[in-house]
């Protein structure tokens, strides 16, 4: 199949074996602490976990538990205050801006509100996923290499938007826009996917479609996923591992199948009270 060819080529291009061993941990978070201002309240109060292999890991917890902050720390959209994040075997925190950019190219991110450039076409939005690999001259004229354009068209077909290639991003519905977001993230040939509430701007049915699509593509491209999500039911349906957070602490970490009602009650205790 064409798509498999893309993956294999992509991995070869990065000097990786065609398949990554499942046991390899791709992301390690160690004693992560974050506060937005010096001496201000701590949002994350020491989080530890590892993600790797075929993990499709959901981060759940009540509002204000620090889920979004945790996800954003990993590609340093939010600066960690203490602790360490090790991604692809290198520490993220001490990277300078150039190295950080090179690292971010390998991390796909899908956002709650899609974060598309509304006045740009669907195609340009998807292609913008390649910007980290595109020189100034090419990006100025939006002249992406042929292989990028081929790949973008393939991905748009995969997410079911082949008829909307030339439309402006703001002409699409919410579910379609999130599919553009998915295609943009996959354009990067990411080695890990970060999902920040990818479905909370969508209705329940579309949410399930979108999560299903992400799971399918992540499994196909062998990309581990860290997904911050507040719909517990959807998390249990889609993900194979759950990290439960409450008030900046990790309260639960285990397979989704083994999760009991009392575990959930503990995570959401704040809301019950």
């Amino acid at each position: 199949m064409r798509h498999e060819k893309i993956i294999v080529e992509g991995r070869a291009q990065r000097g990786l074996p065609a398949k990554v061993a499942d046991a390899m941990s791709i992301l390690e978070v160690r004693n992560l602490k974050v506060s937005y201002s010096t001496g201000g309240p701590q949002i994350l109060k020491g989080i530890d976990f590892e993600v790797g292999g075929d993990d499709f890991c959901a981060v759940i917890g009540p509002s204000g538990a620090g889920k979004s902050t945790l996800i954003r720390c990993i590609n340093r959209l939010v600066e960690p205050t203490e602790g360490d994040i090790i991604l692809f075997g290198q520490s993220v925190c001490p990277l300078n801006s150039g190295d950080l950019r090179r690292l971010r190219r390998r991390i796909g991110m899908i956002f709650q509100e899609f974060n598309l450039v509304n006045r740009m076409s669907v195609m340009d939005n998807v292609l913008s996923g390649r910007l980290g690999y595109t020189g100034a001259f090419r990006s100025f004229f939006k002249a992406f290499p042929k292989e990028d354009i081929d790949r973008a068209l393939n991905l748009l077909e995969r997410v079911g938007l082949q008829d909307h290639v030339d439309k402006r991003a703001d002409a699409l519905s919410g579910g379609q826009r999130q599919r553009v977001g998915i295609a943009r993230a996959l354009m990067q040939r990411p080695e890990i996917l970060l999902l920040d509430e990818p479905t909370s701007a969508l209705d329940p049915k579309i949410s399930r479609d979108v999560m299903g699509l992400i799971r399918e593509l992540a499994a196909e491209f062998k990309i581990p996923v860290l997904c911050n999500i507040h719909d517990v039911q959807l998390a249990l349906e889609t993900c194979n591992r759950i990290i439960g957070m409450q008030d900046g602490y990790k309260k639960f970490d285990g397979p989704a199948k083994g999760m009991r009602k009392q575990d959930l009650d503990e995570i959401y205790a704040m809301e019950v009270l």
């Binding site: 590609n75 959209l77 950019r101 090179r102 690292l103 971010r104 190219r105 991390i107 991110m109 956002f111 509100e113 899609f114 974060n115 598309l116 450039v117 509304n118 006045r119 740009m120 913008s128 996923g129 390649r130 910007l131 980290g132 690999y133 595109t134 100034a136 990006s139 100025f140 943009r184 990067q188």
Partner: protein, 275 residues
């Protein structure tokens, strides 16, 4: 009085009345001061400063008006080239102004400025500088620097345009939706790519609208540049005035009017096409 019998404490009521009286007195004092100031202005500038001897009565004023109204149509063919020159001065000045505005807007937009403590104040200062100096003063400066002709006019118009274009652009940059910017940063885009893909598409309609508006204004500005020797219709105006050819002066004024009307029409349709 029946009011004192009301369950309002006498002290509270008296205090209220006193307060109200004081306020009324203050208001009257303010009005009186304003009237006095107005009277002084009128006396000093009109009664005292006007050369009443030279006004020469109603007949004299009427005669001058008549001289202006006898339009000298023979001048018409000689106006075509200066009119075009004015238009070109406005266009080139606007384009040059846009070029100068780019760094100024970048420096002066709080969310993208390279340095909050040096470039941001610098950008803001340049915006104020450009707008606080009148276009005629800019033209005088440039006539002094590069000599007579259209070039000082173009430079003056450009310098005067920077303030408005860069201020509106900087404000548009400050008001953008930060989410697409975050997305471009997250895919590993550099500073230029973040601006070009995340910011520019969002502010483009505002900028183009502003540039068209500024061009429209710059036609007016270019029309008077000639008064200080910077070419265009203003120069013809100045010469006609110097020759006491009042009919010619009126014709130049009419030509400026037509030019501005044309600019108004073009910018109306251009704005419609873009936004």
């Amino acid at each position: 009085m029946s009011i004192t019998a009301a369950p309002v404490s006498a002290h509270g009521f008296d205090a209220y009345l006193a307060h109200k009286r004081r306020r009324r007195i203050n208001n009257w004092l303010l009005v009186a001061c304003s009237v006095a100031l107005l009277a002084w202005c009128f006396w000093d500038t009109i009664m005292f400063d006007t050369d009443w001897q030279r006004m020469g009565g109603a007949l004299g004023i009427g005669g001058t008006l008549e001289r202006f109204l006898l339009i000298d149509w023979s001048l018409l063919p000689k106006l075509l080239v200066p009119a075009l020159e004015t238009l070109m001065m406005a266009t080139l000045g606007t384009i040059l102004g846009c070029v100068f505005s780019l760094p100024v807007a970048w420096f002066g937009a709080a969310n993208v400025t390279p340095s909050k403590y040096f470039f941001y104040p610098l950008g803001r200062f340049l915006m104020v500088l450009s707008r606080s100096i009148h276009e005629i003063i800019w033209a005088l400066l440039f006539v002094g620097a590069v000599g007579l002709g259209a070039l000082p006019g173009i430079l003056a118009v450009a310098m005067r345009s920077v303030g408005f274009i860069s201020k509106i652009t900087a404000e548009a940059i400050e008001n953008i939706d930060p989410k697409p910017v975050e997305a471009i940063r997250a895919v590993g885009g550099n500073q230029f790519q973040v601006m070009y893909y995340g910011i520019v598409p969002q502010i483009l309609p505002v900028i183009i609208g502003t540039i068209i508006f500024e061009w429209d204004i710059n036609i007016r500005r270019s029309a008077i540049m000639g008064l200080v020797g910077a070419g265009g219709l203003g120069l013809v105006f100045f010469r006609q005035m110097a020759m006491f050819n009042y009919g010619g002066v009126t014709l130049v004024v009419l030509a400026v009017l037509v030019l501005i009307a044309i600019g108004e029409v073009i910018s109306h349709y251009a704005r419609k096409a873009v936004i």
